[in-house]
């Protein structure tokens, strides 16, 4: 059975779900950020699989934009984690409730 685009989409769906489980279940905010990177990778696999199916490079161009946004998100998010850790000495999201009245 040849490998079709559906195989790649199912792989991408499984990777996306693993990322969603990480975001929902873990309490360490660094692990949650890594799960978001996994989700963005799943999206990229989808875009490139469709790019190969449709025989044009536009999907790959959008994957480059996704990678650029992921790099920006990682830089700002990790800056927020460091700033929060300096003030509260924790990376547990259950203890991040300073904005809860």
């Amino acid at each position: 059975m040849p490998i079709t685009t559906t195989h790649y989409i199912l792989l991408s769906a499984a990777l996306f779900t693993i990322g969603v489980v990480g975001v929902m279940v873990r309490r360490n905010i660094i692990i949650i950020f890594m799960s978001i990177e996994l989700i963005l990778n799943a999206v990229n696999i989808n875009l490139i699989a469709f790019s190969q199916q449709l025989q044009n490079g536009i999907g790959q161009v959008f994957a480059i934009f996704v990678i650029a946004v992921a790099a920006a998100e990682a830089a700002v998010g990790l800056g927020i984690i460091l700033a929060f850790y300096r003030n509260k000495e924790t990376v547990n999201i259950d203890e991040m409730n300073v904005m809860r009245s």
């Binding site: 490998i3 693993i18 490139i48 990376v91």
Partner: protein, 170 residues
């Protein structure tokens, strides 16, 4: 046949390392599994004929972003593991159920697409260049020039924001 074997091996490695990233207790180990996961995703890109994206994936993700994560994990020296304190109101099962619902929904969309007639290839506008990297460069500097410039502005803003956040006082 060789392509099928390569696909199933790479897919098993991607999913296995992703599960390890999410489930490992030690955060440093989790970051190292994330590197392996990104490398296998790059291998999948090569299998899909996107060599330039594979190089970008290794350079930006496995080389840049993961080093950033490793720095933060080392800076945030945890004397007590973050999983020790747990909110009694936390609903872990609900998280698993929601993730399962996402998997069912996305999988149903994929299976539904499989039952539809196959998409016909839509070749883009005729490009004066051949080869994966040259074609992506041609697209980025003609049709997608303005999004490309906006992405560079976004990176500049993110860099300034990260510096402002990480400085102790301005």
């Amino acid at each position: 046949m060789a392509q099928a074997i390569a696909f199933y091996f790479i897919a098993a490695c991607i999913l296995g390392f992703a599960v390890l990233v999410v489930s490992t207790k030690d955060t440093v180990h989790s970051v190292l599994f994330l590197v392996l996961d990104f490398l296998f995703v790059a291998a999948l890109y090569v299998l899909l004929g996107a060599e330039f994206l594979a190089a970008i994936q290794i350079l930006v993700y496995a080389g840049g972003i993961v080093v950033l994560y490793l720095f933060v994990v080392m800076l945030v020296n945890l004397k007590r593991p973050p999983e020790a304190h747990s909110d009694p109101h936390r609903r872990t099962m609900l998280g698993f159920l929601l993730a399962g619902a996402v998997l069912v929904e996305v999988g149903a969309i994929a299976i539904y697409g499989f039952s539809q007639p196959a998409m016909v290839p839509v070749p883009g506008a005729a490009m004066p260049v051949t080869g994966n990297t040259a074609q992506i460069g041609w697209l980025l500097y003609t049709s997608y020039l303005i999004p490309f410039e906006i992405a560079s502005m976004l990176l500049l803003v993110a860099m300034i924001g990260a510096i402002v956040l990480a400085k102790r006082e301005l």
